[in-house]
Amino acid sequence: MSTGQVRMRVPEKVKAGEVVTVRALITHPMEIMAFKDGKPVEKNYDFIHKVEATYNGKKVFEAVTSQAVSQNPFVSFQVKVDVPGVVRIQFFDTQGKTYEGQAEIKF
C-alpha cells in the first residue's frame, strides 16, 4: 500500500439543502514515537498533522491531527449542500507533502 492514496465517499444523489456525510481516508504510516533508553528519539516524525476540506471553494472542515490518530487516518464530517459541487480535501504531513482528493456531490 503506497503512502498518500486518498479515498473519499459521499452519498450517490442528494437533495438541495441536505446535510451530507463525507468520509475520507488516506494511506499514511502516521509514524509513532520511538524510544531509546526511555527517552523519545529526536527526529522529524512523519505523520499527517492537518486536514482541510472545502465545498465549492469554501472551507467546511479542518482538523489538527496528532501521532495519536490511527495509521491510514480516517475522518468524517458533514456539509450542508445547497447547490451541487465538489468536496476537496487536503492532507498535510510533517515532511511538507500535501495529498489531495475530491468527490462530486450530485443532485
Partner: protein, 166 residues
C-alpha cells in the same frame, strides 16, 4: 508540481499556517499551533490537567448532557485503531455554531488526539476519526461553540492491547 500545490505547501509550512490557525481560534492552544506549523519533532509528555489548562484555561466546562452524542467502544481490542464519533446537537447558525471539537485521551502521553474546526457551512457538527490509545483511559469529547461555551462528555475505553507501540 503545479502552482496550486506550491501554494498549498507554502501555506502548510510557512507563516500562512500560523496566521490561519490563529484566525480559526487556535491561539489558545500552543501545541495545536506547533503542530499546525508542520513540525514532526517530539513534544514533551503532558499531564491531562495541563492539557485542559492549556486549551481552556479556567473557563467553565459544562457536562454536555444530551447536547453531545459521543460514540466510542467500551472495549477496544486494538488500541491502535479506536473509532470515535462525536455528534453535537447544537445550532450551526452564522452567529452561533460549534466551532471546535476536541478529542482528549487522559492516559496518552499527549492527551489531545485531534481537534476539529468547523464552520456554519457544515450544517451539523458531526465528526469521526480513529484514534490511538496507549492504555485503558477516559476519553473526552469536548465541543466549543463560537460564543465560547464548552460542553464535555467522558467515556472510559478499556484497551486490551495498547496502540502506541508500548
Amino acid at each position: 508540481m503545479n502552482n496550486l500545490r506550491r501554494t498549498f505547501l507554502k501555506l502548510a509550512t510557512g507563516t500562512g499556517a500560523v496566521a490561519a490557525a490563529a484566525a480559526l481560534g487556535l491561539s489558545a492552544s500552543g501545541a495545536a499551533l506547533a503542530q499546525a506549523t508542520g513540525s514532526g519533532k517530539p513534544l514533551p509528555d503532558e499531564n491531562v490537567a495541563d492539557t485542559m489548562k492549556r486549551l481552556f484555561g479556567n473557563r467553565p466546562i459544562q457536562p454536555a448532557g444530551n447536547r453531545v452524542k459521543f460514540e466510542a467502544p467500551m472495549i477496544a481490542e486494538n488500541g491502535a485503531v479506536v473509532p470515535v464519533r462525536v455528534e453535537v446537537e447544537l445550532p450551526m447558525a452564522s452567529d452561533d455554531y460549534v466551532r471546535n471539537i476536541y478529542i482528549i485521551s487522559d492516559k496518552n502521553r499527549r492527551p489531545l488526539n485531534a481537534q476539529f474546526m468547523l464552520t456554519p457551512e457544515a450544517g451539523k457538527a458531526s465528526v469521526g476519526t480513529n484514534i490511538r490509545l496507549a492504555s485503558t483511559t477516559d476519553v473526552r469529547a469536548i465541543a466549543e461553540t463560537s460564543k465560547g461555551a464548552l460542553y464535555a462528555v467522558t467515556r472510559e475505553v478499556k484497551v486490551t492491547v495498547g496502540g502506541c507501540g508500548g
